[in-house]
Symmetry: C2
Subunit: 122 residues, 2 copies
């Protein structure tokens, strides 16, 4: 996973713990793909100020991950669920109804990209 | 779930974000079942000081849960995994090897009580 995707994942988990300003800059930079210069122009601040705020926000995200490890745990669980789904896909026949329900449950838990949704429940 | 179990669950998730002192008191009170008075005696502070520190620690845990909703998400996932395991238990026969592996994966993910282990990965 590249740094860009990693920061995005951390943001999905820990974004609510950042300040409004940090969230605003992270969203412009990492989600809407603005450059530092474009953000500076948009918000009428210096490019350096944008850089510093982004850096502090990223350090906060890394701090929470060092403490709580939730992103790593999520990736680990997602791998397990992927493997469980692959095992299910290998099963032919059997009790169809039960297998369909099981596949549905596992897919619900996999929820790609946004590990924590708006209401906080996968 | 009673308040005692709920605070314990929140502590499993967010404990690393508390101060050493807060963690110490929560562990004495919630894990080792000391009374407020016993903790006060043990640490040579007033019962009121113990009460206030515990209250602030609990408020911090509730704050993190309001922001991140991880404990609720964990309970929700655990219900889904429990349902998936029940579906599996209803399946008789089938591809035994695959079913055994699938059951193992789901049990690994269920990890009762301690949603985040020492190394941060379920």
């Amino acid at each position: 996973m590249d740094r860009f995707a990693w920061i995005n994942l951390l943001y999905d988990f820990y974004g609510p713990l950042l300040t409004d300003r940090q969230r605003q800059l992270l969203e412009l930079y990492y989600e809407q793909d603005y450059s530092l210069g474009e953000i500076a122009g948009e918000l009428s601040v210096t490019r350096q100020a944008v850089h510093d705020t982004l850096k502090r926000a990223e350090e906060s995200l890394e701090y929470f991950e060092r403490k709580l490890n939730l992103a790593m745990r999520y990736l680990n669980d997602r791998n397990r669920i992927g493997e469980a789904l692959a095992v299910l896909d290998d099963l032919a026949g059997g009790r169809e109804e039960a297998l369909i329900r099981l596949r549905q449950l596992l897919r619900e838990m996999r929820e790609p990209g946004k590990p924590i949704s708006e209401n906080g429940v996968l």
